[in-house]
Symmetry: C2
Subunit: 345 residues, 2 copies
DNA sequence: GTGAAAGCGCTAACAA
DNA sequence: TTGTTAGCGCTTTCAC
């Protein structure tokens, strides 16, 4: 007892009527509809999505591609889980399902995405960890499938994205550090081409200029986004001639190992060096001294991602008027002890 | 230029031949096959999965259900990402795709699962966060779809599962603590019905008996698996008459906030109270004093999950002879400073 | 070695 | 208000 045919036979009506009843079409006798719904419920009938998709040309699924590379994996933590929840909140309003596709570490992201999209597994795509030059974007544009990038990019010309305010975070952090007397301010940015590193770097550089502080490339540390990365970062800070008095992080994963690494080099965060972390994530929440960082609602971000995406899909756009715009997502500054000292000059 | 029809027309051969060529059927002229493959490559053709699924009755997708409830969300960290990677390693050998379904926090897991399975989105299911009494299992058995549970259960009679060795961890930890002179050993287990709590509790209790130590229900703390949970746990430990001298954690999320909470009550881990954590996860890796805990390879676990599942699927069983067995996954003990002291008697 | 055609489950257009 | 039927894209059986 599986398909609509069996259900129809059991009810002794045609499959067409069953289909219409289940899909809430108006031209069905209320009595009939009740019978159909009751039988469907009793049999645990759910329409075969392949049949449905084939006929309607739509899967009612939205894909979310994440990457399992060491980098992204390590930085995941609660980030994606929180975002997923927000995305679902919006999608469930439209009976759309969120389907997550984790790209294996050993597979090329573009090719993985091409397979997913090419096989028509989803109606639209959310991609994350956007690179400054990201072949996935060109592909998605060419494929003509609606999509949104969690992270800006230079690729593909005009595209829809939502991005955290890396520039604002970098800029505000520099302001605060300068106010505290810092002049040698370092940043840690990812070693790969992920766009947030570029944006953070540019915001940092512009802020320095505003304060008439010379930009010193030696204070820009490119560091893999891995859990242990802070050790290497601390070592490089310690080894710098005329070392920085402050370090700003552009990703959330490095803080704990940075603390440990700095201690290993006899530097105490919040005393010998100011540290400003990125996100108030669970891993950073219990550091001592408490980490100065930034905060925002993961689920609200997820909701915005979903709404912005739907606003670009003809079938749903009418529900989200004016929402089809790119967004820079603000973060709230969260003062802690890790930068809470004034530098004597 | 999308479907197989267009491709066939362009090549001026029948769609049947195109299909056979692409699917590696033997009865195709090598020359023809080459032309077809080249054209498919050039057009970026990938077969529409709905059409394929409908015809073959198989989706070539394996589902992995995770939950976004506060509990699971918080305890995720890198756990699932690591497991996904291992699962993919195995699935990709068979051109199977891993598809992750995150059940929203506000949705009932069984109903969510019923929708996914009922719509035939996947050929098999991996479920996680198994409860001792888990309605999902009964449903999956009734539905007749192959599945494996990451975590044992009392539900559904005979079922396929892989589970971490919570019993061994509890037992070994008690042994070690007793050796160090502890007699009042507490445990923290989840407040809900998740099965690992039951198993951990039973292993703990049996170990106490072995050592002729009376079981004291006051030392069994049921604690929500949330990031901040350690605070409450510390408070309850401090408020206990005749408090424990050691605490064993059955989940990985509590350690950081427990450290902080204990300090707030004037207790230093590894000095005033012994702490044995569960998994060597990124959140715990940089605690001071270092956390005594346990370790295992997430991707190896994921590989085992996938292989065991495939061993139960007729189409793949031949590749995994003898693998269709339930497994208790061993953990390696990782000594740290958090329990490294001997209690004077 | 290739073409023609049936049919997977479903929805929608049309007929009654 | 309901039944009938075409056809979504694909694989596979059967002729040839």
């Amino acid at each position: 007892m599986k398909g609509i045919k069996q259900l129809a036979r059991h009810l002794d009506i045609s499959i067409g009527t069953v289909s219409r009843a289940l899909n809430g079409k108006p031209d069905v006798n209320p009595e009939t509809r009740k019978r159909v719904l009751a039988a469907a419920e009793a049999f645990g009938y759910a329409p075969n999505q392949s049949g449905r998709s084939l006929r309607q040309g739509t899967t009612n699924a939205i894909g979310f591609m994440i990457e399992l590379s060491a980098d992204t994996n390590a930085s995941s933590d609660d980030f994606f889980m929180g975002v997923f929840d927000g995305v679902q909140t919006v999608l469930s309003r439209h009976k759309l399902d969120l389907v997550v596709f984790p790209c294996p570490a050993d597979q090329r992201p573009v090719e993985y995405l091409q397979r997913i999209v090419g096989r028509r597994l989803v109606d639209a795509m959310i991609i994350s960890a956007t690179l400054r030059n990201d072949a996935r974007i060109e592909f998605l544009k060419k494929a003509g499938i609606p999509f949104i990038a969690l992270g800006r990019s230079n690729s593909g010309g005009d595209l829809r994205w939502i991005d955290l305010d890396f520039e604002g975070v970098a800029s505000g952090s520099v302001d605060r550090l300068v106010e505290h007397g810092h002049k040698r301010i370092a940043i840690a940015i990812p070693a790969d081409d992920i766009n947030l590193g570029h944006v953070f770097h540019d915001g940092y550089r512009a802020a320095l200029e505003r304060h008439d502080i010379a930009y010193d490339p030696a204070l820009v540390y490119r560091q893999e986004r891995i859990v242990e990365g802070g050790h290497g970062l601390a070592a490089r800070i310690a080894a710098t001639d005329n070392p920085p008095t402050a370090i700003m992080l552009s990703t959330e994963v490095l803080a704990p190992s940075l603390y440990r690494g700095l201690e290993g080099h006899g530097m105490v965060p919040g005393k010998d060096i100011a540290v400003i972390g990125f996100r108030d994530n669970p891993r950073a929440r219990y550091l001592t001294p408490s980490l100065t960082c930034h905060s925002f609602s993961l689920s609200a971000l997820g909701e915005a991602v979903a709404e912005t995406l739907l606003a670009d899909m003809p079938a749903y756009a009418k529900n989200y008027p004016g929402k089809a715009t790119n967004k820079i997502w603000p973060l709230t500054f969260l003062p802690g002890e890790s930068d809470d000292f004034v530098l004597p000059h």
